[in-house]
């Protein structure tokens, strides 16, 4: 079957799943339906020859599901009140959206047809990337070499969003974690703990492998960072929060998160003095297909991996500490 047929199938499936997600009354079911949509995107990326994106989308989807379920589960507000939904307003919205859809048909006709992109700047990247940057993965070479400045901006957005989330919840959550640790027995059974003792290191190793080979194979800092965060999460679920707090030293993780973001900027600034431009690739390019190659792409990948791992783990950490009774004052 040609790619287009597969994509039509996947996209229709995703549209149905997302309508279901919006119309189901139970919140947990709609979160699961959203997970289906996200994994559909991941499969579509595979068909569109984007393995990098498929890995990253898959991992981030799983992580988003963890965050959503942890945050919204076990609260008895779940059900929506069906009586009060304004039917006229919904009707007007649907009609407007359908007319927008019909108007979009001629607009989308002006785009290059599916399967024939413009490829002007991109052709330059494909032709010269291996020579210029020494990276076998061209997506990594664009993110961290040609367009590293954009990536810095995007990391800033991520940093700010995570910082906001942590600031809102941190203090309250810290207090709760200490209280919970005092009250009841932490962690799961001895079987889970024993398995985790082995599996957590294997997951960590896989994450480090993905980060270090970011310039050679699909994955890179973003994907590998999530795997690292999932390894820490594994320990937290099996051993409980008290043990994890002692093992990892949470305040130190906050410092590591901020430090990796600053170091990313520092690598860019060093480019001005050594390479003559912001984020210039001033280290030796090495030999193509070797682990130590492609200049600054490797260190930048490592920094992004640490940054993503720390920030995502900390978000789940503060969410895990959150626990409030109904109607409690802030």
């Amino acid at each position: 079957m040609p790619v287009e047929t597969w994509l039509i199938f996947i996209l229709s499936f995703m549209i149905i799943a997302s309508i279901a997600a919006l119309e189901i009354k139970d919140i947990l079911s709609s979160i699961v339906a959203i997970g289906v949509v996200g994994l559909g995107v991941s499969i579509a990326f595979l068909f569109l020859q984007a393995p990098d994106l498929a890995i990253v989308q898959f991992l981030f989807e799983i992580f988003a599901l963890i965050i959503l379920v942890r945050a919204f589960l076990r609260k008895d507000y779940h059900k929506e009140d069906p009586a009060k939904i304004n039917k006229i307003l919904t009707g007007i919205t649907v009609v407007t959206l359908i007319s927008i859809f019909l108007y979009s048909v001629p607009a989308l006709n002006h785009l290059p047809p599916f399967g024939k992109p413009l490829m002007t700047t991109s052709q330059y990247y494909i032709d010269n990337s291996a020579k210029d940057t020494g990276a076998a993965n061209f997506v990594a070479s664009i993110i961290l070499d040609y367009r590293a400045y954009d990536t810095l901006g995007e990391l800033t957005v991520l940093f700010t969003a995570i910082l906001g989330a942590l600031t809102i919840l941190r203090i309250k959550s810290q207090r709760n974690i200490i209280e919970t640790a005092k009250k009841k027995k932490d962690g799961m059974t001895v079987i889970v703990k024993t398995v985790t003792r082995v599996s957590c290191w294997m997951i960590l190793l896989y994450g480090i492998y993905i980060i270090l080979h970011g310039h050679l194979t699909p994955g890179g800092g973003f994907g590998g960072g999530v795997i690292l965060a999932l390894a820490f999460l594994n320990v937290m679920l099996a051993y409980g929060k008290k043990f994890t707090a002692n093992w990892l030293n949470i305040n130190f993780l906050y410092d590591v998160e901020a430090a990796s973001a600053t170091l990313f900027l520092l690598v860019g600034i060093l480019g001005i003095s050594i390479g003559g431009a912001f984020f210039a690739n001033y280290l030796s390019k090495g030999e193509l297909f070797h682990l130590i190659s492609s200049g600054t792409i490797l260190p930048l990948n490592i920094l992004i991996g640490i940054k993503v791992a720390m920030s995502l783990f900390l978000v789940v950490w503060v969410l895990a500490g959150l626990r409030f009774e109904k109607g409690e004052e802030v």
Binding site: S12, F60, L68, I143, A161, G327
Partner: protein, 112 residues
């Protein structure tokens, strides 16, 4: 062409959710759907027929490749989406803590 239209339809489903739903959780999920559609659309535009992924391997002859530029931009966009989702979730929880509801109309009423 029909893939573009379906992708745009997915985006509109998300927009429909943002406009009509009154539960904060549903609004956050709708924003997620819009994000998926936008990311997927960029990759759809960059696809080239009979081409391979933009990664070269040792000892393999280089075939024509799909456009790597949208892939690079979407990669970071996926990450940011998770960051903003986390921020929205935390804000929604904070509102729930104060008003004990996720219904945006009730939240508005209480604020006066």
């Amino acid at each position: 062409m029909i893939v573009y239209l379906l992708c745009f339809a997915l985006f509109l489903v998300g927009l429909y959710g943002v406009l009509t739903k009154r539960n904060l959780v549903k609004i956050i999920l709708s924003l997620g759907i819009m994000g998926y559609a936008a990311n997927l659309f960029l990759i759809l535009v960059g696809y080239r027929n009979e081409s391979q992924y933009p990664i070269i391997a040792e000892g393999v002859k280089q075939a024509p490749m799909v456009d790597p530029l949208p892939q690079a931009l979407v990669l970071t966009s996926i990450v940011i989406e998770l960051g903003t989702t986390a921020l929205l979730v935390v804000l929604a929880l904070r509102l729930f803590e104060k008003y004990n509801t996720f219904d945006i109309t009730k939240i508005r009423r209480l604020s006066g």
